[in-house]
């Protein structure tokens, strides 16, 4: 298991989780995982289990909060919701991602032009 790859994936997954919680409000682990799968239209191969490492990490940083509740079909489930500092972090990260992907896009355009 290459650690670099894991790091990259971690950051990305954390951001996806934060965004999902902002969009959907409080949600349990399964809900978050399904939502990400649906949003990515199955382009991301996600082992649903890995979501839990991401959740504990975000929780320990204080970006999300968790509490036990009851799911739609009356099962006891742990619900996660984004906190204020989580929102701030999301804004920061989203901005960072946006800028990075802009730069990458421009770079790829540049290389096509340069190739001609």
């Amino acid at each position: 298991m290459g650690e670099n790859k894991l790091d990259l994936l971690q950051g990305t997954l954390d951001l996806m989780v934060l965004q999902t919680l902002t969009a959907m409000g409080a949600q349990h682990g399964y809900g978050i995982a399904r939502r990400i799968e649906q949003a990515s239209k199955d382009e991301v191969l996600l082992n649903q289990g890995t979501i839990y490492a991401s959740l504990v990490r975000l929780q320990q940083r204080g970006w999300i909060a968790a509490s036990w509740g009851t799911s739609d079909n009356n099962r006891k489930a742990k619900f996660y919701s984004i906190t204020r500092s989580g929102r701030k972090q999301l804004a920061k990260d989203a901005d960072h991602w946006q800028r990075l992907s802009d730069v990458m896009g421009r770079l790829f355009d540049l290389s096509e032009e340069g190739g001609q």
Binding site: G29, N47, Q48, Y52, V56, N73, K78
Partner: protein
């Protein structure tokens, strides 16, 4: 902020594992449940829905692992796991664990104890503030002992005023005799104690503050000052029951009301620093302009350098002033014979021991190495038995690093436990050493295990763990997985390689033990040679006791006559006690203090220039030589050699021999010849054996004896020679003395042998330590040999069974095992002997009359280690020869 918060959360999680794990468990269960429900809603069967839910989840255990990794402190988890596992597996193997911890405790304990000694004597500065500024000022070492290392009070004044590199100079009277105080309390016999006269600025210069009261001040040393005394901590506790209000109280000491002005701190032990092995109870100030002024060289010099002044500058300064010193300023030809060389006080106190301590340190280092090699071997044997366990764990996914880490954890735990027990052992040893007041080693009474020793313990424990753990660890981890799983353990390649490694380790062990043994053997032989030295007197069946008497008399003549009468009376009375063969009195016993007066020369012959110091002077009674067992050629003094008859002396052979070079004596004998000391003629009544004065080992110098009938002794030591063990005579002698003089204090009754033993004690101490380390090393090496041979016999039980089934006799099997043992032992001994040759050269300076390559020692040690090796091999050999072929073939 986030990072800190997360770190705290991680630590918090680490300690709440069970509830968090239960939470996660429940969460995952819900997750799967929800997934199954959703899949079934899409029309799948329950089985398929569950399968797909699990596939999408992707490994429940993996998810849990990732979660825990993100949540807590994984490394610590693994460490704890390893720790628990190790403790469990060591607990199962109790015999191995006990032996391993015992070996380590001995090795590490010896190291800590010796480190404490080395640290105390060599590494730590002396227990005085700014102790690196303190210097001992004396002439370069010569033959004549303490008399040449001292200066007169006039010399002190000149030196102190003339030098500029010292903040101040102080000194103490080196001729204060033992038991010189007699403290009268109540009606009983006075209590005897020892004090040292110091110059009043002594404590200021050393920077010693009394715990109670004050140090001496200048007024205490003035002429006519009220007598004062400062008590040592030990005496204050022993004699005065640690009286907290002692300061200001006055006691009758030597007939004078003497006020206690202070009590010294426990850390300041005058004896431990300046005169090892003796007990100093109190310190008294000296009046420099009192009687000592005319008594010649009495004072040793101690100086404190000014800040920024180097030793070299101080030496130059001292060398410039020394020639101006006079024994007595009023006697012009008493000047210009002095030299003064400052050396660091520390090197004066413990410098002579450097080499011995380094040897001791190396010896315990050797022990630790042997212990480590031994343990390495034990672990290797254990690891060989566990190779399948490790192969299995590797097959189940444990990484090599993880396995090595686990083996290292194991050795760390073992060495940690060993270090703990070793520390307890060392504490016992150090406490015992501290109480050995009779060993003439400096600073022994201040020995303790301090922070540095604890640090050293940790250091060597970790070193030991890595040292003995790394070989088996790497060996295990490098093994071929499949080979190991297939290996049945008997006679295949892997085991062979193991055995070769183990044999190498054993050979190393034997070689190390051999070096230790040879070293110890050489020291032992030196010690025996020292015991064999002809001291010039017979220490057995002789004892000494300090005599106290008053000599009335207005004139010198009257006093001498009275003195003769008193002593003659004492000796007649003592000699009449049954069991006493001879009795005599001397002022200084051998192997203690001494002094010199001048150099009497054959009458009519001019003494050549450049004779540094004269013979050591003793004032004795008739019968003293017989009591000491010193042979006389010529005649002993008699009571008739009175103050009005010819002045007589006896001289020792060495001095007589020296004088004979200048005098033209018929047949070269000094007996009956006349000497002259510049003032008067001295008739040589007898020539006596050379007596060892400074120590049992050194050369003997010149000695001259005067009779008490013509000279005043500085003190009176009654020496008796007995037919019975001297100790049994103590009561009857003391009773007799008390009858003659009711003021005779209860002085210590000292066997002369004890005085000799005291002088030999440092050598004996080092010899015993090195010898016990060597014995320990030998035992460990024997264990090592036994371990390897016994293991190889166990491994080959089947092979031996086959051989015996094919007709090999028990004797043949036994021989083959023993020859294997011998092969290991011989390789070890040969390499050890070669190494010993080099090592013995390094300790040559510590030997006495013993060649570093002493063939007897080498032969004896080789024989000893060979026999021990044979015994260690014989036990498994016997077991091998008793193998029952049928049983061996049936079992594996």
């Amino acid at each position: 902020m986030g990072a800190l918060r997360r770190a705290l959360a991680r630590i918090y999680s680490f300690f709440r594992k069970p509830p968090l794990d239960a939470d996660l468990e429940a969460e995952i269960a819900t997750h799967i449940e929800l997934a199954i429900k959703e899949n079934m809603r899409r029309g799948l069967t329950l089985t398929e829905a569950r399968r797909q839910a699990l596939v999408n989840f992707g490994g429940v255990e993996l998810a849990k692992h990732q979660h825990r990794e993100a949540r807590g402190i994984m490394r610590l988890d693994i460490l704890l796991q390893d720790f628990r596992y190790t403790v469990r597996s060591l607990g199962r193997d109790r015999g191995f664990t006990l032996v391993a911890i015992l070996i380590l405790a001995l090795g590490i304990g010896a190291n800590i104890a010796v480190f404490s000694v080395v640290n105390n004597l060599l590494l730590r500065p002396l227990p005085f503030p700014g102790s690196q500024q303190l210097v001992w000022i004396a002439p370069p070492p010569t033959k004549c002992g303490i008399s040449c290392a001292t200066y007169s009070t006039d010399g002190y004044d000149t030196f102190r005023a003339g030098t500029h590199s010292f903040q101040d100079v102080t000194g103490y009277n080196a001729f204060s005799t033992a038991d010189n105080l007699s403290l009268s309390v109540g009606a009983g016999a006075p209590v005897q104690a020892t004090s040292i006269d110091v110059i009043a600025n002594f404590f200021q210069l050393l920077g010693v503050q009394p715990t109670m009261g004050r140090a001496f001040n200048e007024a205490d040393g003035r002429n006519g000052a009220a007598p004062v005394i400062i008590l040592s901590d030990a005496w204050w506790r022993r004699q005065f029951n640690a009286d907290p209000n002692i300061v200001g109280k006055a006691f009758d000491i030597n007939g004078q009301q003497t006020t206690v002005v202070g009590v010294l701190p426990r850390t300041f032990d005058f004896g431990a620093i300046f005169s090892p092995g003796t007990k100093i109870d109190a310190i008294t100030p000296v009046d420099l302009y009192g009687p000592v002024r005319t008594q010649g060289n009495n004072f040793t010099f101690i100086g404190r350098l000014k800040p920024g002044v180097s030793l070299a500058q101080a030496r130059q300064d001292s060398a410039a002033v020394a020639p101006r010193l006079c024994n007595n300023n009023k006697v012009s030809d008493s000047c210009g014979q002095y030299e003064a060389v400052p050396v660091p006080l520390k090197s004066y106190v413990s410098g002579k021991l450097n080499r011995s301590l380094v040897v001791l340190w190396s010896a315990v280092g050797g022990i630790l190495l042997i212990a480590c090699v031994n343990l390495s071997n034990l672990l290797l044997a254990r690891a060989a038995g566990r190779s399948k366990e490790f192969a299995m764990r590797t097959a189940l996914g444990a990484s090599r690093a993880r396995i090595v880490r686990q083996l290292l954890t194991e050795s760390l735990i073992l060495s940690g436990a060993g270090a703990f027990c070793g520390l307890a052992l060392a504490a016992t040893l150090v406490a015992w050493l501290r109480s050995q007041g009779a060993i003439a080693l400096p600073l022994l009474s201040t020995l303790h295990i301090d922070g540095a020793a604890l640090g050293w313990t940790v250091l060597i424990a970790v070193f030991a763990a890595v040292f003995f753990g790394i070989v088996p660890g790497l060996r295990m981890a490098s093994g071929d997985l499949q080979e190991t799983l297939k290996d049945t353990g008997a006679g295949t390649g892997q085991s062979r390689k193991h055995e070769r490694l183990r044999s190498t380790l054993v050979v190393t062990e034997v070689a190390l033990a051999c070096v230790l043994l040879v070293g110890a053997g050489l020291l032992l032989r030196s010690f025996l040679k020292v015991l064999d030295v002809d001291l010039g007197f017979e220490p057995q069946h002789a004892a000494a006791v300090m005599l106290t008497y008053d000599v009335p008399g207005k004139t010198r003549l009257e006093a001498l006559q009275n003195q003769s009468l008193i002593l003659q009376q004492v000796l007649t009375r003592v000699s009449s006690i049954p069991g006493i063969q001879a009795a005599g009195v001397v002022d200084y016993l051998p192997l203690g203090q001494n002094r010199s007066w001048g150099t009497p020369f054959p009458k009519g012959i001019k003494a050549p220039q450049g004779i540094e110091t004269g013979p050591l002077v003793y004032v004795i009674t008739p019968g003293y030589m017989r009591a000491m067992g010193t042979g006389i050629r010529g005649r002993d003094f008699t009571w008739d050699d009175g103050p009005k008859s010819t002045n007589v002396v006896m001289i020792n052979k060495a001095y007589a021999h020296f004088l004979a070079n200048y005098a033209k004596w018929p047949d070269g004998s000094a007996v009956g010849q006349m000497l002259n000391d510049g003032n008067q003629d001295l008739l040589v009544a007898g020539v006596v054996d050379d007596v060892h004065e400074e120590g049992t080992e050194g050369d003997t110098g010149w000695q001259i004896y005067y009779p008490v009938t013509q000279q005043f002794p500085n003190a009176a030591q009654l020496v008796i020679r007995t037919t019975l063990p001297p100790g049994t005579m103590a009561t009857s002698v003391m009773t007799a003395l008390r009858e003659l003089n009711p003021k005779q204090p209860a002085a210590e009754f000292r066997p002369i042998q004890a005085i000799v033993n005291h002088s030999n004690s440092p050598r004996q101490f080092f010899m015993l330590l090195v010898a016990s380390f060597a014995a320990l090393g030998l035992t460990l090496a024997a264990l090592g040999i036994y371990g390897v041979i016994s293991y190889s016999v166990t491994q080959r039980t089947q092979e031996i069974g086959i051989r015996m089934a094919l007709g090999a006799t028990a004797g043949r099997v036994q021989r083959s095992v023993i020859s294997k043992t011998l092969r290991l032992a011989i390789i070890g001994i040969v390499s050890g002997a070669v190494a010993s040759l080099a090592v013995s050269r390094a300790i040559a300076a510590l030997l006495f009359n013993t060649e570093p390559s002493d063939p007897i020692t080498f032969a004896a040690m080789v024989l000893l280690i060979g026999v021990v090796a044979l015994l260690a091999g014989y036990v498994p050999a016997r077991r091998a020869s008793r193998v029952n072929p049928m049983v061996a073939l049936r079992n594996n």
